[in-house]
Symmetry: C2
Subunit: 244 residues, 2 copies
DNA sequence: TCCCTTAAGTTGTCTAAACATCTGGACATG
DNA sequence: CATGTCCAGATGTTTAGACAACTTAAGGGA
């Protein structure tokens, strides 16, 4: 089964084999893979080598492991849509899943050079920071850090408590309809805070989306950084203005 | 330096330390990190543990390693822009870098169920597949697989040879102006073909963008899958129709 | 001078072994 | 019946050592 001559590393061969078996439905979503010791026996490889192979499958989002229990086949990715107008709550409801959110923290800081550029304000101006953890079907899905000018949104910290959606809040209390102006996409491995909040291992990449929103006149309303679980989502962007 | 009691794994502590040192400019881009054996001595950790820490930095795109030479600090990410109208060549020129492309392969297949849905054609229809490798400053940057209906673009395989940009070709030969309609973003670890073509190790994630382009009447022109080096790029999407 | 060999240094892969930490069930105790 | 304890089995981390593959530079022979 595993060739030692081909010049291809054993762990790469094994992860390829398991990848194929999962793809072909040999192991169904939710089902447990053979244990590391079992795979070690079956393929005549050291457990350490087995772990390298499984580590790759984890990073690909194909499987997840629970310490003390085992390794399981993951479900397929959630297709998450973004456009100028769509937001988290509507996007998740659209695909028939149940969204939820929790405000982790809110505080005020001085803008500094980078944020002042992003928000187009003075670097001495105050900025409200909102940290929100969002769930899909009770599973942590993404973590958003929002930055808004304190001057333009006075008392927003008081209003946000108990509110579901930040965008509804902006609309109702301040009469502003925020629309996504640009988003940048990056990839990284999780920092330890990501691992805690999103409940993932160090091998699952995170998709980092940095977005700027503007109001109808073109003024910058919000800058936010969202970190998605890479194993759970595929993000779709629609380029036709109205979006869906 | 490294605590054995805190409950935080040594390799995580070390990757945190190195991450900070790089961020603070202790190691400049392009400069070599201490060798694994040197770090092993310095932090009193096994070389295997050192490698786990460096593996994380690789996945974060902070460093890259060359077998037999060493580990080096990576340059900052290229900001790659996409919108309805921007394309690879213009986007790279915009940031002052030099783009290049090479046609790896072109062939014809039957659409099948998935492609027929993506291109809105019959599943028995023929589809032209173009595989293109793109470079920035001579460095492999992304790999694109394009699918186009053979019926709508006869002889495209003959025309593509020697042509720089697929989109100019569509415009000149077929009078069609292709515009990006939607793109989806996913994360994964590289397959072995990615590792070969993009010249990356197994620890560097790839950013997978699947795009559909339409003509001015709204007919689907092209479906393509592009796999970017996650350590090299951040992709920015502009939601205002005209884009830049 | 030019080319080849050699050796040292570096990263890549694999094995072996030990201990830590977590899960789940069996079992004893109240 | 409820609870706590213990143990087997699973994954997580770390160490030690070996060899392979690659890079670079030094040295030797034509």
């Amino acid at each position: 089964m595993i060739s030692r001559e081909g010049g291809i590393a054993c762990y790469q061969q094994l992860s390829g084999i398991l990848h194929k078996q999962i793809e072909e439905g040999e192991f169904r979503p939710g089902k447990q893979l053979p244990t590391e010791t079992e795979l070690s026996r079956r393929y005549k490889l050291n457990r350490h080598t087995i772990r390298q192979a499984i580590g790759r499958l984890q990073s690909e989002g194909l499987v997840y492991t629970i310490k003390g229990k085992g390794t399981f086949v993951a479900n397929s990715k959630i297709s998450y849509k973004v456009s100028r107008k769509t937001r988290f709550t509507t996007s998740v409801l659209d695909v028939g899943l149940s969204p939820d959110a929790r405000l982790l923290d809110s505080y005020e800081i001085s803008a500094g050079s980078e944020l002042s550029r992003k928000l187009n304000i003075k670097s001495s101006d105050k900025v409200v920071v909102l940290e929100i953890l969002r769930f899909v079907n009770k599973i942590p899905f993404c973590h958003t850090t929002s930055f808004l000018s304190s001057d333009r949104f006075p008392d927003i910290q008081a209003h946000i408590k108990g509110s579901f959606s930040l965008y509804e809040l902006l609309k109702k209390h301040y009469g502003i309809e925020a629309m996504r102006a640009s988003s940048s996409f990056e990839v990284s491995l999780p920092e330890s805070s990501d691992m805690d909040m999103l409940q993932i291992s160090s091998k699952v990449p995170v998709l980092i989306v940095k977005s700027t929103s503007k109001n109808s006149k073109g003024d910058i309303v919000e800058y936010c950084i969202t970190r998605f679980r890479g194993d759970l989502c595929s993000i779709t962007v629609n380029f036709n203005g109205e979006g869906r």
